[in-house]
């Protein structure tokens, strides 16, 4: 301990002062990242006129939940919210199952054709048909305006599959798989009874990745689900956030004239951002500790 402080002094910067500098810099970075989100949060519960007058830098002004009330009174946003939940749940179950079905066989070292099958999948990471040919195939398979258009063409998320495959190769004890083989368990039984339960951590990460991807997606829906009542939340929000236009349903329910309508539109912007962002921001910290492990298992081949 003594040696440490002494050597620190020799080089001009003690351990303690470098610690302080680091903490200060990290706090500034924390602020830069967190403040925009915090600002949207307080603006969403403030009087919109005060927001536009710059009175809500630190704390809400004239606290109100009107923005949230009008979001939940808007049928198009509610439909979008419902669609988003539906697509996220079904899509995540489907994607993770397909991911596991692909990753496990490819992790079995003595499977004939394993290398070739891996390449078959990996090629699609680097080369694809492009937007229009894919669109035409989706159309020909009858998926336009069908929610499966969101799940089937994405099919196998190859990058994630490699992470899971490498996890199976490196983190499932071979002795357990061999013991199951000796006991006469079939490959499928081994997969279900041993491999799946032992891979819960990576599965949690994949579930979260998949949920985030489906919850946040709007481009696939924009192309493949043109019917407005099939739009997920982000696509509904496009009218409000990007085009800055109030939906017809808002215009008809608000009686206070143009200024009032404008005010509501502004409030809805802030509260709908919070509603769209919050679910995923709540979920990811639960699997955060697995991110690094997952990336190590995936990125570096053992």
């Amino acid at each position: 301990m003594k040696a440490n402080t002494k050597s620190g002094k020799l080089t001009g910067l003690s351990e303690k002062s470098s610690d302080i500098i680091l903490v200060v810099i990290c706090t500034i970075i924390l602020f830069i990242v967190a403040y925009p989100l915090y600002y949207v949060l307080i603006a969403s519960v403030s009087n919109p006129y005060d927001v536009y007058a710059g009175k809500t830098f630190l704390l809400p002004s004239q606290f109100t939940l009107d923005g949230y009330k009008s979001v939940f009174a808007d049928p198009s946003i509610l439909t979008g919210l419902f669609n988003s939940f539906k697509y996220t749940i079904i899509g995540t179950v489907f994607s993770v199952v397909v991911l596991y079905l692909a990753a496990y066989p490819l992790s079995v070292k003595d499977l004939p054709g394993r290398k070739l099958l891996s390449i078959f999948f990996i090629i699609t990471m680097y080369f694809g048909g492009g937007m229009v040919p894919t669109y035409l195939v989706v159309k020909q398979t009858g998926l336009i305006n069908n929610m499966w258009a969101l799940f089937l063409p994405g099919g196998v998320a190859v990058g994630n599959m490699i992470i899971v495959r490498n996890f199976f190769e490196n983190s499932i004890p071979k002795e357990m798989v061999e013991a199951a083989n000796i006991d006469g368990a079939s490959k499928w039984t081994t997969f279900i009874k041993i491999v799946v339960p032992l891979s819960r951590s990576i599965m949690a990460v994949m579930v979260v990745f998949s949920m985030v991807a489906y919850w946040n997606d709007w481009f696939t829906s924009m192309i493949y689900l043109p019917s407005p009542n099939k739009a997920p939340l982000p696509l509904v929000l496009r009218n409000i956030l990007i085009k800055s236009s109030a939906s017809a349903s808002q215009a008809s329910t608000i009686s206070g004239g143009f200024a009032e309508l404008n005010k509501m539109t502004e409030m809805i912007k802030f509260s709908s951002i919070i509603i769209a962002a919050l679910p995923m921001l709540i979920i990811y910290p639960f699997v955060q500790k697995y991110f690094e492990k997952g990336f190590m298992a995936g990125a570096v081949k053992g």
């Binding site: 080089t11 061999e178 690094e292």
Partner: protein, 314 residues
């Protein structure tokens, strides 16, 4: 007794042993598992690749990929002579290049700093917050950007006391795109570096401290060498995707007035192909972009192979 002996003597999984037919039969369940992923990949990845040929044909829905009339390089020459061709190439390359220039070093610096934080709880909270923006939809991010940059009541103008409409200034577009990109993804980008740094034996740091190495010297001589191979790999992968400017953010931030810098190939492919239903033309433009990317990818992979042996993902 003798039975169990023979069972134990026989290799269980028979790697390389047994006839191929027997090994295929032994593994039938594994092949059955692969059925769904393989079929999906063939239909939705490989058939579209086959459909790329419509870039050389005049595609008519009634005649299909194969039956449509062959027109050779007509669509390509039309694209090369499009009035915005030069502008789109330039914007695509520059947007991507500047993103890489700023976006590449920042996560590394962040990871090096975070790795030195000794207060575990503070470190964990910082990491959690830094990851947050990555989990937000592009749509929401672009909505926030538009709110913050609004000429009336936007946060930036409120702080600066001005009323500039940033999204109508073509000079500001790249800065907006890149800065918001860093805000959203630099935190997430540290993971791979943090994971690599966590491999370092802590006794190395102790030894360096005893030898009188400062914090900066420890980072320079212990941390950075550890990160070199993953840094090179990351740089190479991004360089290979230089023409891959994502469609979503550009499209959501584009206005009629900032097109001089925001007009990129990906947006053009969407507008021509999906909005205007010019299927063959759009496919040709997309193919042109892909071909350049593949050339870049092969070139950088060659360099990668020379630098490091373990950079292959396969």
């Amino acid at each position: 007794m003798s039975r169990s002996k023979t069972a134990a003597a026989r290799p269980v999984s028979q790697p390389g042993g047994g006839s191929l037919k027997k090994r295929l039969l032994d593994n039938w369940q594994l092949y059955a598992m692969l059925l769904v992923p393989v079929v999906l990949t063939i239909i939705y990845k490989y058939i579209p690749m086959y459909g790329i040929q419509i870039a050389f044909r005049d595609y008519k829905a009634s005649r299909g990929f194969m039956g449509s009339e062959w027109v050779g390089l007509e669509w390509f020459s039309r694209f090369f002579s499009a009035p915005t061709f030069g502008r789109m190439i330039k914007n695509t390359v520059l947007l991507s290049f500047y993103s890489l220039l700023w976006g590449f070093p920042i996560p590394i610096i962040l990871a090096l700093m975070m790795n030195q934080l000794r207060f575990q709880k503070f470190k964990r909270v910082t990491q959690t917050v830094l990851y947050a923006p990555h989990f937000i939809s592009t749509m929401v991010i672009c909505g926030m950007i538009r709110i913050f940059l609004s000429p009336s009541g936007g946060l930036i103008n409120l702080i600066a006391g001005t009323s500039v409409d940033f999204l109508t200034e073509s000079g500001a577009f790249r800065t907006i795109y890149i800065a918001s990109g860093i805000w959203q993804d630099a935190g997430w980008g540290i993971i791979v570096y943090m994971a690599t740094l966590s491999n370092i034996d802590t006794s190395l740091y102790e030894a360096a401290k005893v030898d009188g190495a400062s914090l900066f010297q420890r980072i320079l001589h212990i941390d950075i060498p550890e990160l070199t191979s993953i840094m090179v790999l990351n740089l190479i992968m991004s360089a290979g995707g230089l023409m891959n400017v994502g469609f979503e953010k550009v499209w959501l931030l584009q206005t009629d007035l900032n097109k001089a810098t925001s007009d990129v190939i990906a947006v053009y492919v969407y507008q021509q192909g999906i909005e205007n239903a010019k299927y063959s033309y759009s496919t040709a433009v997309g193919l042109f972009n892909t071909v350049i990317n593949i050339i870049l990818l092969i070139a950088v992979n060659k360099i990668a192979g020379r630098i490091s042996e373990d950079t292959s993902f396969i």
